[in-house]
């Protein structure tokens, strides 16, 4: 379950991680986090159900994050 980035980080980055890599595409990344915040902060599903499905999906996809 790797969390090691495979892409060369930006020159300004002091670390190579998900955040620094996503900084390459600032506008889509900002739009994604706006979407993500809406999903987590509002809606009819209880937070614990969202978290359970998130964790299950991470296990199925072998996503270390």
């Amino acid at each position: 379950m790797s969390t090691t980035p495979r892409v060369t980080p930006p020159p300004h980055a002091t670390t190579a991680d998900f955040g620094t890599l996503m900084s390459y595409i600032g506008k889509p990344t900002a739009a994604f986090f706006d979407l993500y915040a809406e999903y987590w902060q509002r809606g009819v599903l209880p937070p614990d159900l969202k978290e359970i499905t998130r964790l299950r999906n991470a296990r199925v996809t072998d996503c270390g994050y």
Binding site: V7, L21, M22, I25, P28, T61
Partner: protein, 146 residues
């Protein structure tokens, strides 16, 4: 935040996802931002979108053609059968990622990602990997929700 104009392929998703309009509008804005990003050409994005659609057998995404992107009929046929020979080596590298993302994402190798980076640069690689992931999401939504 302005919401991009819905395309015909969006209408299919909007039937269900429109029940959460705040979420749907934010997804549309995000998806439009991926296409407008500019690090990857719209042609390469379209090639990958169509290949993902073909893998899923997703008619909604397959039958839709992104505006202002021309893909020759022979290339479309090649995408449907998974033949990447008609495409240049950079496009082939991108398509190799698209090929594996839906059901073999764990088999994507470091070399395959590096091939995309060598062809298009690191920013474009991040843009492409992100876009392909959401082409996959859209197909799964079409097939699951409708």
């Amino acid at each position: 935040m302005s919401t991009p104009t819905s395309t015909p392929v969006d209408a299919n998703l909007e039937l269900t996802l429109g029940k959460r309009p705040e979420l749907w509008s934010r997804f549309q804005s995000f998806y439009a931002a991926l296409w407008a990003d500019g690090h990857v050409s719209r042609r390469v994005l379209e090639l990958c979108r169509l290949r993902v659609a073909a893998i899923h057998g997703c008619a909604a995404e397959w039958e839709y053609r992104t505006a202002d992107v021309f893909i020759a009929d022979t290339d479309v046929a090649a995408l449907q059968r998974g033949d990447f020979q008609p495409f240049d080596h950079c496009e082939q590298a991108a398509l190799q990622i698209a090929e594996k993302t839906p059901f073999q994402h764990q088999a994507i190798t470091d070399a395959e990602v590096k091939a995309v980076e060598n062809g298009y640069g690191p920013a474009a690689t991040v843009a492409l990997l992100t876009a392909i992931a959401f082409f996959d999401v859209r197909c799964r939504w079409h097939l699951t929700l409708n």
